[in-house]
């Protein structure tokens, strides 16, 4: 039953309009597909709701206090606009959100901040500075009853009541629709130096990356690329390497970044550090990593796997014996992006079976509609956790009108 709610696309301009719209959907029991500008619409199970609610018309910075390291933006504010504003003050989003747009058929920089937090998108620097959710100080949102609520605030520390703001991070629009988000920001890193290693095996590379993480040099990027993926970068030395490429990034003010890079090369001498990138060349490389340049050319299924670093190489080794995969390890192996052949299940059965043995979980980021409709896009949960998740969902969205089934069927 859809009652009188107008189906199709809604883009409320204010929080009140948004709440009103949800209340109308509640009254008419109309399921809603929730999005910002829709760049990640194809992640998850197809929602198939009659009405779409977008926050794209709720745009603008409510507050930006550089000396307090805090920024409050309406949920539909484009990430690019926020980053441009921060750059004017030599600041940045420390979690360096990965930009899924280009691998999903959109241009770079189009995501909204609501989408970034809703999907908890963190980039390579997550290992040093924390995830997107770690930087959420507070939110305003509309729950599945059409009520506006706030959680947290705009200050750095806050244990006043339950932390619902960070809980919404990574919930993919299934719990509440965020209308405003307060974020912690940090001074921008002035210099980024990148040490490159060529031709390391996965196992050896992960070993080197973990050693780097165990140094006091505040390593902010630890990446290992299979040869075929390295070839898709624009940097000539990386693209032309024809072997696997391993990259370690250190940042800080220039003299410190130089010192840290030198120190790391000494520590990792046995792994034969081959080349060091600095300045724009270094920044450009990590910029390409951030837009997943290595997965932009082919439309193959793309998985995001989270695991314990020391299991990462074994996991890919084991998987490679079953299907033909290309892997990019980030977070010193704690995060693996896996490109699989265009199989009916996108490789789900083999990936999940391997993870069951070695630990970790997988999310299918890119695949044809038919593939996504047929398998679990998000990692199936243990029964106790599934039951707990259903309770959480019910506490926010009792009628199940937000993005029904997007993460888990029947939820």
């Amino acid at each position: 039953m859809t009652g009188h709610m107008r189906l199709g696309f809604h883009a409320p301009e204010t929080e009140e309009e948004l709440a009103h719209l949800v209340a109308e959907a509640v009254d008419t029991r109309t399921p809603l597909e929730i999005m910002g500008r829709g760049t990640k619409r194809d992640v998850g199970h197809p929602v198939g709701a009659g009405a779409v609610v977008s926050t794209e018309a709720m745009v603008g910075l409510q507050l930006y206090e550089p000396t307090e390291l805090v920024l409050v933006a309406k949920a539909g504010t484009p990430l690019a606009a926020i980053e441009a504003k921060l750059a004017e003050n030599d600041q940045e989003l420390p979690f360096e959100p990965v930009d899924l747009g280009p691998v999903l058929g959109y241009g770079p920089g189009q995501a909204t901040i609501g989408g970034v937090i809703g999907a908890n998108l963190s980039g390579s620097r997550r290992i040093l500075k924390g995830a997107a959710r770690d930087h959420v100080l507070g939110v305003r949102a509309v729950n599945g009853r059409g009520e506006v609520f706030k959680a947290g605030g705009r200050v750095m520390k806050n244990v006043t009541g339950y932390d619902l703001g960070r809980t919404l991070a990574g919930s993919w629009g299934t719990l509440a629709i965020m209308s405003e988000i307060a974020l912690k920001v940090l001074p921008a890193q002035r210099e980024a130096r990148t040490i490159l290693f060529f031709g390391l095996t996965d196992q050896t590379a992960i070993e080197a990356l973990c050693i780097a993480m165990g140094t006091p040099y505040e390593v902010s990027g630890t990446l290992h690329l299979h040869a075929e993926l390295a070839a898709r970068f624009t940097d000539e030395d990386i693209a032309g390497a024809e072997v696997a490429v391993t990259a370690i990034r250190v940042e800080n003010f220039p003299a410190s970044a130089r010192y840290r890079a030198n120190s790391l090369r000494q520590v990792l001498l046995a792994y034969s550090p081959a080349l060091e990138l600095d300045g724009e060349r270094s920044k450009k490389f990590w910029g390409e990593v951030r837009t997943l340049k290595m997965f932009q050319d082919k439309p193959n299924p793309l998985w995001r796997v989270s695991t314990t670093p020391s299991n990462a190489a074994k996991l890919i080794g084991s998987l490679s014996r079953k299907i033909d995969v290309r892997a990019a390890y980030d977070w010193s192996g704690g995060l693996i992006w896996i490109e699989t052949p265009p199989l009916t299940d996108g490789g789900a059965v083999d990936i999940r079976r391997t993870l069951a043995e070695l630990g970790g979980y997988a999310t299918l980021i890119r695949a044809e509609d038919a593939t996504r409709a047929g398998i679990d896009v998000f990692q199936p949960l243990e029964p106790e956790l599934a039951a707990l998740s259903a309770k959480l969902k019910h506490a926010f969205d009792p009628l199940g009108i937000f993005n029904p089934g997007r993460m888990y069927r029947g939820m």
């Binding site: 809980t167 165990g214 989270s306 314990t308 926010f396």
Partner: protein, 511 residues
């Protein structure tokens, strides 16, 4: 002391006290069960000692399974449970209830795993905060959150209040350093959340549980992030002739793109008390002092301290001194860490935990001074300036019942001020019983209702640590609005108030 409204005790449970204790002993033979009055007295309060209540019984389990057995029993018998770590809560989060079993995890003290290649440690919830770092220190790693009670407080308690510490400006608070949990729900179900990887499938329950003050489940194990210790660190002391200059200097340091690992603020009373206590060389001539600590290699430290000094010069410091040796560094921090204890030796104090936006720091300190004068109390300020987490210590005489009542009113006014300035009630101590009636100052009905719905979803019978966080059990929150604590005692003398008001109008220049 004002009369605290607690949930009505369950008469049926009280009548079955001996029977319940007997059954608990049978249920968890390995655990210690305390039910005699003298034994229970140890647990009658936490570090908010103004409120005391003897519990029904105390259980000290040694395993997750025992915790599960106790919770299942209590659930089935409708017995309330108050989880407790080391009892260092400053907000009454672990205050027992007459009809509740205190579930104290202080005997679950095993460090289960230290994995330096993946940079994680798995520990039981009763492990002290400092013990995590101690377990990792031989490999040069540490656990970042460092509340000043770190020698005593437990990891479980840190999770309950999302503890921070002096170094959280750089390293974040508990939630930012937590990867996984084992938790027992009120019905006895054991749930694992997250793990030793950097994010978890499905909804992220870690931030929901962290800071929930033991109301959603009982955490029995935690997997935390370990970090490699920096090559070195060094603090410097900067004295200023006004709190405003000190506060402006903090903002300028951050604006310059420098995030020191810690920026601690002390006002004149705090400086004098701490200096008297440890002789750390704090600037006695200053109105305010900052401890600014930076980390890195020797060159990095030099570079950063020079920059900090350059910035500080713009605010006409009365003194600037870098620590010259590890001994001096230790002394500087010893003074800071001992601040609460040192002040406590001089006087009873009521410790606030409000947070304000950093730009409002001068105004906040000014107003706090005036509020305390209005109520005729001295105040000392020593806090984490980088993140705006204030800890005004209001000095009073706990044996004077009139002062006791007034100090609470004074504290409440300070917290309301923090909210007016755009901040919040509590940064790291938690709401507990202390601040629950102030929740509506910060939140609307809808805000509280949304939190309460989560409590009800995970603990429908409100058996787990009820009477805390929400204005009386949440379900009655609507009814509680506008109801003041009972027996507040006489109003502060009206003539003093009008005197102070008059001075306020004149612009704060009066003596």
């Amino acid at each position: 002391m004002s009369t605290l409204i607690l949930p009505d005790p369950d008469r049926g449970v009280l009548a079955r006290r001996n029977d319940i204790a007997r059954q608990l002993k049978r249920l968890v033979p390995g655990a210690t069960v305390i039910s005699d009055q003298e034994g229970c007295r140890t647990f009658e309060c936490d570090a908010l000692t103004a409120y005391r209540c003897l519990p029904l019984a105390v259980v000290l389990p040694v395993s997750t399974e025992e915790v599960a057995a106790v919770l299942r029993f209590c659930h089935d018998n409708h017995v309330k449970v108050v989880p407790r770590g080391a009892g260092t809560s400053l907000a009454g989060g672990a205050l027992p209830l007459e009809d509740a079993v205190v579930l104290c995890l202080s005997r679950m003290t095993k460090v289960l795993e230290v994995d330096t290649s993946n940079r994680v440690a798995r520990v039981e919830a009763g492990v002290t905060n400092i013990a995590v770092t101690e377990a990792a220190a031989k490999d040069g790693f540490f656990y970042a959150p460092d509340p000043s009670s770190q020698i005593a407080c437990t990891v479980g308690g840190n999770i309950a209040t999302n503890s921070g510490g002096a170094h959280c400006l750089k390293y974040g608070v508990t939630v930012n350093n937590l990867l996984g949990l084992r938790m027992v729900m009120m019905d006895g179900e054991i749930i694992d959340l997250g793990g030793s990887h950097l994010d978890a499938p499905g909804y992220d329950f870690l931030p929901l549980i962290t800071g929930s003050e033991g109301q959603l489940g009982v955490v029995t194990e935690a997997t935390v992030r370990l970090l490699k210790a920096p090559e070195g660190s060094r603090p410097m002391l900067i004295g200023f002739d006004s709190t405003e200059s000190a506060a402006s200097c903090v903002a300028a340091i951050i604006a310059a793109g420098i995030i020191p690992v810690a920026i601690e603020f002390m006002d004149r009373p705090a400086i004098h008390v701490c200096e008297h206590f440890v002789t750390a060389g704090y600037p006695l001539d200053a109105e305010a002092a900052l401890i600014v600590e930076v980390e890195g290699s020797e060159d990095e430290i030099e570079y950063l301290l020079e920059k900090v000094e350059d910035i500080a010069r713009d605010f006409l410091p009365t003194s600037m001194r870098r620590s010259q040796s590890p001994e001096e560094t230790a002394l500087i921090w010893k003074g800071r860490r001992a601040a609460f204890g040192a002040i406590g030796q001089l006087s009873d104090y009521y410790c606030m935990d409000g947070v304000i936006p950093l730009s409002k720091l001068p105004k906040a300190l000014d107003e706090i001074g005036w509020i305390c004068r209005k109520y005729r109390f001295d105040v000392a300020n020593v806090f984490h300036a980088g993140d705006g987490n204030l800890h005004p210590l209001i000095l009073y005489n706990a044996n004077d019942s009139v002062q006791l009542e007034r100090v609470e009113l004074c504290g409440a006014e300070i917290l309301k001020l923090c909210i007016e300035l755009g901040g919040c009630l509590t940064g790291e101590h938690g709401v507990g019983i202390e601040k629950r009636e102030l929740m509506y100052e910060q939140y609307t009905d809808e805000d509280i209702d949304q939190q309460v719905r989560i409590k009800e979803a995970l603990d429908p019978s409100w058996l787990l640590n009820p009477g805390k966080v929400f204005p009386i059990e949440g379900r009655d929150a609507q009814k509680m609005r506008g109801i003041e604590l009972q027996n507040l005692g006489p109003e502060p003398e009206p003539e003093i108030e009008s005197e102070i008001e008059a001075e306020l109008v004149e612009g704060h220049d009066a003596p």
